[in-house]
Subunit: 366 residues, 2 copies
């Protein structure tokens, strides 16, 4: 943290909805950067109870001169509900915020998704800026414009595509991130390597200790590389008509783990880590990757301190029930993101049903 | 109703979001038309308790061969709330509806706005078709892609722009519309004439008796002409960056009437009728239209059986409080749709504040 890294910029090129991801240090208190990226008179900062005491005051101070309102929500996935949006709408209306206002999401994936969905729907759409505070939000959820909330019957079932105007990634914020959440964020970093960037996989295998020690240069590198990978996919398929679904490697299995355990005991990244291991195993049993490739992927996940198996209490039937609600499904067939080689993910429903069942049974004690 | 009018088609040209408005008779039971316009395996029909017993069975029958689910909501503006969307999301998820499903809004403005907003946000956006059952929905709310719900602090404060894939206007459905609601719909028809189509104003002055007698040819004509007027404005400004705000003639005043009376005693169209009379009066007092023009506009509204004044119990302060929440406002100044001649509306904040206050005081007994 002693060496000050240069601020890096990744463009997400989406025509008139293009924006930049700024990656650097001390950005949260950089008043001139914030004034440039949040050119509004009225700014609503949405954050949660954990983040507010750490960073809210500094941010509000750096936004000096604007009409700033704040909304502090409970922490955790449970807050990502339709009715959690109501206090934010209330606050916007009580303060007379008009269509030219900006929302700022200061938090992890839950705050980003929820504040983004409020921005997508307040007065039929206002601008918003993401200031992610977790590794997972920095490399994944803050980029790409997916916003939304959960429904008791499925994650992210209610939402909108609404791109932010900017993403501000202040590496210094990671110093307060608990170890378990840092590891969970690493699941999404490893995801980019597995699904389409084998050179990044090699880099991670070689440099994992520096990453886990949170050395600034290593963090800056993995975040920039992850964002570039994500930006390339989002640019090619903004609304998930096709290849964007590749970003869901491990997610069909992972969402089922989160759902079957009641959203809470497993962090999203942990569930995705186990889900990626399941995808690796199934890909290997289909003969699409070698046993060595499978083991190599699982080993990196294990070295990161992430789970490599789902809870044995989840039966194949429960898995299938949750997986069938997946948004990738069309016309009832189960589409999965699988690997045809490390760094080469595909979306496919072209596999024998038995291969999926065998994979699910392998983990179950039922 | 005895003569069968030819089906007419109005295109709303919005690039890849273009769609047609079909206007004719017996369209609700035209299975081949419905199959062509709703090319989905899974169809959810959203309607209300008043409409369901009249038309739901016929529609479901005409959709034969598809997986059809239905959701029947309470009737009335009170149902247009965020939490009214929950049973629709539940029904979609219980039935395993995927991203290729279609929602069909069978009802008036409330059902269209709410079902459209569900379609905008279910799995981040699915297709929907409008089958309006009220005159107001046929000429106004079903066309143009504005969807949303009310917040206790303001109408339509939460929503999205989401264009339908088709609008199916079956003139026969108007036979069941109560007189008061028919008149309320006429407020929006007269709005198009006043704001930009003086030839239509002349036609309405000459043919109002046939319209009020609900002669099919007259209905077909006013609906087509209203839709063409609306389509032209929406095409020029889909997301209300500028001229689309002209469609809100009478609405700043009207929304305040609805809000101050607690959403219910006044129908939307009635409030808009009184609001247009207020805009006519204010425009005349500014010298932007003549006294004759003002009287001509008010006379047509009066002949239609619509109110020409707000309730005297609403004080100027209450009006201003509600008007300041209007979505057209930017940076605190009150933008109003006013007339600079019949058929020539403008969005303006370029008037002396005293002119607005005088207009409000004129009606108040406070």
């Amino acid at each position: 943290m002693s060496t000050h890294t240069k601020t890096r910029c990744v463009e997400v090129a989406l025509g008139e909805r293009s924006y930049d991801i700024q990656i650097g240090q001390q950005l949260l208190t950089d008043a001139s950067l914030l004034q440039a990226l949040i050119p509004a008179k009225q700014v609503m900062v949405v954050t949660n109870e954990t983040i507010a005491p750490l960073y809210l005051e500094s941010l509000v101070e750096a936004l000096g001169g604007k009409q700033v309102a704040t909304c502090v929500l409970p922490d955790g996935e449970q807050a990502k509900r339709l009715d959690s949006m109501l206090p934010v709408f209330d606050e916007l209306l009580v303060n007379g915020f008009d269509r030219d206002c900006y929302l700022v999401a200061l938090g992890g994936g839950v705050i980003g998704d929820l504040a983004g969905f409020v921005a997508a729907t307040y007065q039929r759409g206002v601008a918003f800026v993401q200031i992610p505070t977790t590794l997972l939000a920095m490399v994944d959820s803050s980029v790409g414009g997916k916003t939304g909330v959960n429904h008791p019957r499925g994650k992210n079932m209610i939402g909108a595509f609404h791109q932010p105007r900017a993403v501000i990634i202040d590496l210094d914020l990671l110093s307060s991130l608990p170890e378990r959440e840092f590891q969970a964020g690493m699941a999404e970093v490893i995801k980019y390597a597995l699904l389409g960037d084998v050179a990044f996989l090699e880099w991670l295998e070689a440099h994992l200790p520096e990453v886990l020690a949170r050395e600034t240069a290593a963090l800056s590198y993995i975040i920039e590389r992850s964002c570039r990978n994500k930006a390339a996919i989002v640019q090619a398929d903004e609304k998930e008509a096709g290849q964007r679904a590749l970003l869901n490697l491990g997610h069909s299995f992972g969402h089922a783990i989160e759902g079957a355990t009641g959203y809470g005991p497993w962090l999203h990244g942990e569930a995705i880590a186990a889900g990626m291991c399941m995808a690796l195993r199934m890909s290997a049993s289909l003969g699409w990757i070698s046993t060595e490739e499978r083991n190599r992927g699982i080993a990196l996940i294990e070295r990161t301190g992430l789970p490599t198996e789902p809870p044995a209490t989840i039966t194949p039937d429960t898995f299938l029930e949750f997986m069938q609600r997946d948004k990738k499904n069309r016309g009832g067939q189960q589409r999965l993101v699988l690997l045809q080689g490390l760094g080469n993910a595909v979306v496919s429903s072209d596999y024998p049903e038995s291969a999926l069942l065998e994979t699910l049974q392998e983990y179950s004690n039922g």
